[in-house]
């Protein structure tokens, strides 16, 4: 993968990552590629990501989105990623189909909030948080492909380190990513 002698060094691909309605498990699994991280940082540099603490996403090559969309801020971040990324990837079960957060979808949002903040055992005079700085929850949690166009999907809860590595190396090398040899799992 190193450039031929005399040729200008290849530009590193810019990769932003974020976790929307996710648990950061997919980011932890990303770190599970272990020593491949050394190979990876030769090829990419991170933009906005929990790993860099950059707050706004800039023009990028490959965006990784963990988690579905459960509130207004998620929609805002997801749209910013779509605007800035040439290729956008749904990383993990929640981004792909809503996952665990979407299991509230058959309940009404107000019922959910009341159950947690007012009726939970041990709570007295509980109130539903209404600080204007809090992003408004959506009535349903949605997978990200129902909000913006997604180029590739990488399922799994979380996708394994080897699956993420195979996927990224395929993509960086210009191949269509393919999860063969038992790397495809939904659980």
């Amino acid at each position: 993968m190193s450039p031929a002698p005399g040729s200008p060094p290849a530009r590193k691909l810019r990769v932003p990552t974020t976790s929307l309605a996710g648990c950061f498990g997919c980011h932890m699994s990303f770190l599970d590629i272990d020593e491949h991280l050394f190979e990876l940082v030769e090829l990419i540099e991170f933009d906005r990501s929990p790993l860099t603490d950059i707050k706004e996403v800039g023009p990028c090559d490959i965006g990784l989105i963990e988690g579905g969309v459960c509130n207004a801020e998620n929609v805002h971040v997801l749209r910013a990623f779509r605007r800035q990324c040439k290729t956008l990837i749904a990383l993990g079960a929640c981004a792909v189909n809503g996952g665990l957060p979407a299991q509230r979808n058959h309940l009404s949002l107000s019922e959910c909030l009341r159950e947690v903040y007012q009726f939970r055992p041990g709570i007295e005079n509980g109130q539903i948080p209404n600080d204007p700085e809090l992003p408004l929850p959506l009535d349903k949690v949605r997978p990200i492909h129902e909000v913006v166009r997604i180029d590739y999907f990488l399922p799994g809860c979380p996708p394994s380190g080897p699956a993420i590595w195979k996927f990224l190396t395929d993509l960086i090398a210009g191949r269509t990513p393919r999860l063969s040899d038992g790397l495809l799992h939904y659980d």
Partner: protein, 234 residues
């Protein structure tokens, strides 16, 4: 012996055998969800869709014919199977990471077999409450794909007719044959065939849970293609 061509390979068959039965017997895999060798063809899941003599047919419900050219493992047919799987996934609530059937589920295994990476369509997220009224068996209707295997097993083998499908089209759903509608108010037993036949995670034995861990289950180490052809041999 009479034969037809399946993706260019000769497959022998006896009169009355379906395309699917003859193919499986000859060691060729055609996928299925609602088909079971001990029951008449149901033809509802359409996963066994093939092109026979230029027409789309369910391989489980179509008798093989001498000299037919049947297309099955083609990009076109497999693409249609993937679309059918995607529709099944968005119609119910299929959250594999929290499902006890994960790894043993035929719907999930077919998703792997046909490399379904996304459910693609808009999710319905239907409201289907679970029924935990029975002491030994849990019913999680969220995962029902309407294959009627439990309906057929309970009616035709167990002699109890515990289950039925009701409603039409998008309102179709599985119901329990009791005045209360609850499984606990029927004579259903964990030893019934209907308790073991669900290809997905609707009818679950209470207790075993994750005794066999994720990663060591039927379709974790082998594909549904390998497993089904192995079952055919035994």
């Amino acid at each position: 012996m009479k034969q037809f061509l399946l993706d260019g390979q000769p497959v022998p068959f006896e009169d009355g055998q379906s395309i699917l039965e003859a193919a499986r017997q000859a060691g060729h895999y055609i996928p299925s969800l609602c088909w079971h060798k001990d029951f008449p063809a149901h033809g509802s899941c359409k996963l066994c869709i093939v092109k026979a003599a230029g027409r789309h047919v369910s391989a489980c419900a179509t008798p093989a014919k001498e000299g037919w050219e049947v297309e099955s493992a083609t990009p076109e047919m497999n693409g249609e199977r993937r679309a059918l799987l995607q529709m099944l996934f968005v119609e119910g609530n299929h959250f594999c990471p929290s499902c006890e059937k994960s790894g043993n589920c035929e719907l999930q295994a077919l998703g792997y077999e046909y490399e379904m990476l996304t459910s693609r369509f808009r999710h319905f997220y239907p409201d289907r409450p679970v029924d935990a009224s029975h002491p030994d068996v849990l019913l999680d209707f969220n995962r029902c794909i309407f294959c009627e295997l439990c309906v057929r097993a309970s009616r035709d083998v167990d002699g109890k007719a515990v289950f039925a499908l009701t409603g039409r089209g998008i309102n179709k759903h599985l119901v329990v044959n009791a005045e209360s509608g609850r499984l606990g108010d029927t004579d259903f037993s964990k030893d019934d065939l209907a308790a073991r036949i669900c290809p997905v995670g609707v009818i679950l034995r209470k207790g075993p849970g994750f005794a066999v861990p994720i990663g060591e289950r039927t379709y974790d180490g082998q594909s549904i293609r390998e497993q089904k052809l192995k079952e055919e041999e035994s």
